[in-house]
């Protein structure tokens, strides 16, 4: 779980992923009266993952609003508030609970601009703590990025570093359309460099985390860090892996992926959501339909979540999503043309 390699910097300032998100929200609350935070236990409790932390003490309970346990209604209130002039950031306590609010996110927020012929905007941000690895079992560990990525009208981002967590949240807040941000729970404590002040990370742009010529790995969130660890081991065997951090699921940065595959001729997609009909399927198809197809030296591989709910038992839980050795072995087989 190392942060992406970075040049040593004299005035480097490190924050954790959750501190970076909190800093972004604090800046937004300071800068714009219209910004309100809403969610379950985000006030004095500080949020289930302590992301909002002390913001209620700084900005008051009118702007850092504890909602009742009403995900459908809460998300809908955020939609209505965004439609009429506020800039709400709604925190789902776990992304799994967004299933209760699909109506407002998918039928209302995502389609409002279109249904109204461009006459209205819904600038709402939905924050979603996601992913497995915490022993929380099947209803508190899912990865729904692909679900939301399937909906025109939504933008979906998935930061893997503290710097991007802050930059993508501020970009989401500036965006006139609804944005869903998936935050991986295992990353909340990860530290990394975070620039001071207001900056944005562009939505729809990936980032190359490691350059290589033999295999392209497209990964997102926690999988970026596992892929980096696998790449480090493979480098010892002379296999040079290029790692693309997806960052945005919708819109997806096709050009960067196609460009990398044209260079390496081999592609491995690594994501935590269920493998079938997931992000990897989309990326594979995108390559099959692009000029990169002619550059492929091996079949495209996908590593994704198992075709099962996330189990409670720790060994089963680990086996349910890609781990470093899985990535290492798949990339090695690709590099050696063993597939």
């Amino acid at each position: 779980m190392n942060a992406p390699t970075r040049q040593p910097d004299a005035d480097i300032r490190e924050l954790s992923y959750s501190e970076a998100i909190r800093e972004a929200m604090g800046l937004a609350l300071e800068r714009d009266e219209r910004v309100v935070l809403m969610g379950e236990d985000i006030g004095v409790y500080g949020g289930a993952f302590q992301v909002t932390g002390d913001l209620v003490e700084r900005f008051g309970a009118d702007r850092v609003m504890d909602t009742p346990i009403s995900e459908l209604g809460g998300a809908g209130v955020a939609v209505g508030a965004a439609l009429t002039g506020l800039r709400p950031i709604y925190e789902f306590q776990f992304s799994d609970f967004a299933a209760l609010a699909m109506e407002q996110i998918v039928n209302q927020a995502a389609k409002m601009r279109y249904m109204l012929g461009g006459e209205a905007s819904v600038p709402v941000v939905f924050r979603m703590p996601a992913g497995s690895g915490t022993g929380a079992a099947a209803q508190h560990s899912q990865s729904f990025e692909a679900w939301f990525g399937h909906v025109p009208g939504l933008k979906v981002v998935q930061p893997s570093t503290p710097e991007d967590a802050k930059g993508l949240l501020l970009a989401a807040l500036e965006d006139p359309d609804p944005v869903v941000m998936f935050e991986h729970k295992l990353l909340y404590k990860m530290k990394g460099h975070v620039p001071e002040g207001w900056y944005t990370t562009p939505i729809g742009k990936s980032a190359i985390r490691r350059h290589g010529k033999d295999v392209t790995i497209v990964a997102s969130a926690i999988m970026v860090h596992r892929a980096l660890a696998a790449a480090e081991k493979l480098a010892g065997e002379g296999i040079e892996v290029e790692i693309i951090d997806l960052r945005s699921v919708r819109p997806i940065d096709g050009d960067a992926i196609i460009g990398s595959v044209k260079k390496t001729g081999r592609l491995l997609c690594v994501y935590e959501g269920v493998r079938t009909l997931g992000i990897g399927a989309e990326i594979s198809a995108m390559i099959a339909e692009s000029e990169a197809f002619d550059f492929l030296d091996a079949p495209v591989l996908r590593l994704g979540g198992a075709e099962a709910p996330i189990p409670y038992n720790p060994d089963l839980e680990k086996a349910a999503v890609p781990q470093i050795p899985d990535i290492e072995s798949a990339a090695r087989r690709l590099a050696r043309r063993e597939v």
């Binding site: 219209r34 209604g73 209130v77 209505g80 109204l116």
Partner: protein, 333 residues
């Protein structure tokens, strides 16, 4: 006040406002008859949900609103749209799928809106507008605009989870929202007797510690007075209210309705309680206008509807290449 026994609307509003209310009721009736006729002629596709017979509920609920006040509406929302000030020409243009329509032909009957007039839109999802109206109330309170949000919904929506969540949140935060349930007795084919545990939906207000009122929804003055009280309460920061307007849709649920769940006798009884005739009679009785002036209002509304249909017919079809326009802000240009 105590020696003035005239109906509330007559006491409260001047003749011009009352005449405009009658005009809007006729506009709704003729607009929907015109839409139905255009559908039969194949000029409109899809489906539509007509509110003929419910005009008093829509117009009386909106008579005290400004353009700053918001409404959320339902799939049976043409009446709300006209009540909030929409032009029938642009509404027909929307139904005809034309660029001149309120949603540039992308929304149709079920998503018609006019945000410049504070109409946040009809909604294809039963109960979809309930939390959205609460959000509009939150904006009004936070930005101190003094606006209220009127949330229209049907009896069907009162059994959605969104109803419970929305009313509870509006109540705990004392938001300026007026929930108006237009109880027309049937959620599609299922009667409220079969779908709803309480006799009157307004009884549910008790669960949210807000006032609840059941009103004769075909009595213009009764609706206007009850809504006015709720709006005053909302604007004073005292929180939301729940109002149940008892009314009836003369037509079926939508174009697929074969009317198997209600009797002709029941329909005829409600047609005899026509809210437009009732309001018109009241205005004449209290000398707001005379018979010929009332007839003039009706005739002008009919002409406006006819002109609206012609406007829509001559509208521009959207370009197929603009299919994905309006999905995101950057694709608006």
């Amino acid at each position: 006040m105590s020696d003035d026994n005239r109906p509330f609307a007559i006491r409260k509003y001047d003749a011009a406002r009352l005449r405009d209310a009658l005009r809007k009721m006729y506009l709704i009736r003729f607009f929907e008859e015109g839409a139905e006729d255009s559908y039969m002629r194949g000029l409109i596709h899809g489906t539509m949900h007509l509110s003929i017979g419910q005009e008093a509920s829509a117009v009386a609920s909106c008579i005290g609103l400004t353009d700053e006040d918001k409404i959320t509406s339902t799939h049976r929302g043409h009446g709300h749209c006209i009540s909030k000030g929409a032009e029938v020409g642009r509404m027909f243009a929307e139904f005809f799928g034309k660029e001149e329509g309120y949603c540039h032909g992308r929304g149709g009957s079920m998503h018609i809106a006019d945000v410049t007039k504070g109409n946040l839109g009809a909604n294809g999802i039963v109960g979809g507008g309930l939390p959205i109206a609460v959000g509009a109330g939150l904006t009004a309170k936070r930005l101190n605009t003094g606006a209220v949000a009127i949330c229209f919904f049907g009896d069907g929506a009162n059994n959605e989870g969104a109803f419970h969540e929305a009313l509870n949140m509006a109540a705990i935060w004392k938001l300026p929202v007026v929930f108006i349930c237009e109880n027309n007795k049937y959620g599609m084919s299922t009667s409220t007797e079969r779908s709803t545990a309480v006799k009157n939906i307004a009884e549910r207000a008790v669960a949210y510690a807000m006032p609840g009122h059941t009103v004769d929804g075909n009595d213009f003055s009764a609706v206007a007075e009850t809504v006015e009280t709720a709006i005053a309460r909302a604007r004073a920061g005292e929180g939301p209210s729940l109002i149940e307007n008892l009314t009836y849709r003369w037509r079926g649920h939508s174009k697929s309705d074969r009317n198997r769940y209600r009797t002709k006798q029941e329909i005829d009884e409600w047609i005899a309680r026509d809210p437009i005739q009732r309001f018109r009679k009241e205005l004449i009785e209290h000398a707001i206008l005379d018979e010929s002036e009332a007839e003039k209002v009706a005739t002008e509304a009919r002409q406006e509807v006819e002109a609206g249909i012609e406007f829509a017919k001559s509208g521009t079809a959207p370009r197929v290449s603009d299919l994905a326009r309006y999905v995101y802000a950057e694709e608006n240009a």
